[in-house]
Amino acid sequence: MKGSKTAFWALALAVLSSYTYGVMTVGTQNASYAYAQAISDNSEISGSARFIEVAADEQHNQALQNIIDRLKLRANEERTLCTISENDALAIRDSGNVVEQRLELDNGEMARVLVSDDLTETDIRNLDPSSNCIRLNIFERIILTLSSRVS
């Protein structure tokens, strides 16, 4: 009986600690995503590459993650434009089912964004036309889509 009680409290402590750690981590992560999103809302046009192609196999997930990491880093450190380099895009292209979305930027230039065909029209409309970045919440969705495909 005593052993059962000890097991219960040990397990409860483990569950509570993991929950607290998880909530704090995810909460912070979401905050930095939101920050990068806000930065992209106010960004100007960059001359570098401005498209993302979504991969559908596991080896490309890491490349996507690298992009997100770089976006977060840049958003946090430079507080300027968050863009995706052409090299990044090349690293994850060759994926198969993608659609291309053209967005007219404020200066009349066209930006090209390739997104997963699993995304809805609403998602595409949510892409910010004043920037050449895909909003990071869309990125999270892409990752989710990829994860489910891979598994």
């Binding site: 409860a12 509570l16 607290t20 905050a31 939101a34 920050y35 806000a38 609403t122 989710l144």
Partner: protein
């Protein structure tokens, strides 16, 4: 200024502050949607998460204290009990079963039935069948006056010579040892009231009752049990509660004279009785070995009506309790103020956003909300997951039901606090 006017002003002020918190939360949401300061929303969201985490640890800490420092109560030694059963148009078969279960229960007792103006002839037939039983006293009201008046009548005119008063509902069926287990804590000088484990007679009737059964288990064996470790249970269930007789006599007039926003209170008799005991400085405890069964509404409409009535009473009594808890039970004061009153209203912006996003975006619901709620369910109801795994499906359903329906019922209750409809049993 009279005491009544002064109380009414205090109540109005408290309700206004709650409305203000609600408005502030919505204003923050509007600010976010209109592209306002990101830092403000993030800070607000982090405070919300922080309080939710602290509250989870707090509940588990209380449970841990209760577990390692178990209270030991003196054994029952034949003290006399008065069992009060207020009745209003109860289903006759249930009423009879309830009175018979009280008669069969162990302990030196007599039963006081107050027929609160029932019009159902079946009730009269059942009550007349006990007229030759000296252990049962029945008193009839000409018209329906409400449960508070019924308890007041019993305590005032029928209580003499009793050590303890037990109140049960007219559909409560108790286990044989429920009464003696329930009153044993009252032999301790510092304890003024106790309440038992109330389970459902009709838990397996349908999906709704199964869900409510799991919710009862969680509310009693997690939240109420946690509060009991510091003697600060804030509601003795109307279905099975006991009070020291001298305390019941002392507080009986306050039970019927309570006003809220200048209107006489007719619901939440159980919460108010508990508050009156806490206000006198006594501990109130939960006794998990005192077990009784009762019915719950089996249709959604009835359940929502019941919850609406309970939640109005909850707000009213939570506000009342703030006036004395700060000196009598400071820990409970902080819990009631922050967790019971402020948090549900301060979180409306966040919950509204989640709710709206879930409707317009099913992916967000399935990949974001569902996993989060399941995680929340497992963590906050961990004792249920561990000790009563059969109730997991029910509590899982209730978690969603609570966030997507009952939360809004609670808000509606707050904005209709003066309404007296559905206020009697």
């Amino acid at each position: 200024m009279s005491a009544s006017t002064s109380k009414s002003l205090r109540d109005s002020l408290a309700v206004s502050v709650l409305y203000g918190i609600f408005g502030l939360s919505l204003a923050l949401l509007a600010l976010k949607l209109l592209g306002g300061s990101r830092e403000v929303w993030e800070t607000y969201y982090k405070i919300y998460l922080g309080i939710a985490i602290i509250h989870t640890w707090y509940v588990f800490a209380l449970l841990f204290i209760g577990d390692v420092r178990k209270r030991a109560y003196p054994k029952y030694a034949g003290e006399s009990m008065a069992i009060i059963i207020p009745v209003y148009n109860e289903e006759p078969a249930l009423l009879e079963a309830s009175i018979r279960s009280a008669l069969k229960a162990d302990g030196n007792k007599r039963i006081l039935v107050i027929d609160d103006g029932s019009t159902d002839p079946g009730v009269k037939i059942v009550l007349s069948s006990f007229k030759n039983d000296s252990r049962v006293t029945v008193r009839h009201f000409e018209r329906n006056k409400g449960k508070r008046e019924a308890i007041h009548e019993a305590v005032t005119y029928l209580l003499s010579g009793c050590d303890f008063v037990v109140t049960i509902d007219s559909d409560t069926i108790m286990r044989k040892d429920a009464l003696i287990r329930l009153v044993e804590p009252l032999k301790t000088a510092s304890i003024g009231a106790s309440t038992g484990d109330v389970r459902l007679l009709n838990e397996h009737e349908n999906l709704l009752t199964s869900m409510i059964g799991s919710y009862y288990w969680s509310a009693l064996n997690i939240q109420r049990k946690a509060n009991s470790s510091l003697g600060m249970v804030d509601c003795c269930s109307g279905a099975l509660s006991a009070y020291k007789a001298e305390i019941a006599e002392y507080i009986k007039d306050d039970l019927v004279s309570e006003e809220f926003l200048s209107k006489k209170c007719v619901y939440s008799d159980d919460r108010h009785l508990t508050n009156l005991v806490l206000r006198l400085g006594f501990d109130v405890v939960y006794v998990e070995k005192a077990i009784a069964y009762t019915n719950t509404p089996s249709t959604m409409g009835q359940f929502v009506k019941q919850q609406l009535r309970w939640r109005r009473g909850f707000f009213q009594e939570a506000i009342f309790s703030l006036s004395f808890l700060w000196k009598m039970k400071p820990v409970l004061f902080i819990e009631v103020l922050i967790w019971d009153l402020i948090m549900p209203l301060a979180s409306v912006g966040i919950i509204f956003l989640v709710f709206a996003n879930s409707i317009v975006d099913p992916a967000f619901f399935f990949f974001g909300v569902v996993p989060s709620l399941i995680l929340l369910l497992v963590v906050r109801n961990f004792p249920l997951v561990y000790h009563a795994p059969k109730k997991i499906p029910g509590i899982m359903l209730y978690t969603f039901f609570s966030h997507f329906i009952m939360y809004w019922v609670g808000l509606y209750a707050l904005f209709t606090l003066k309404t007296q409809r559905w206020s009697t049993r």
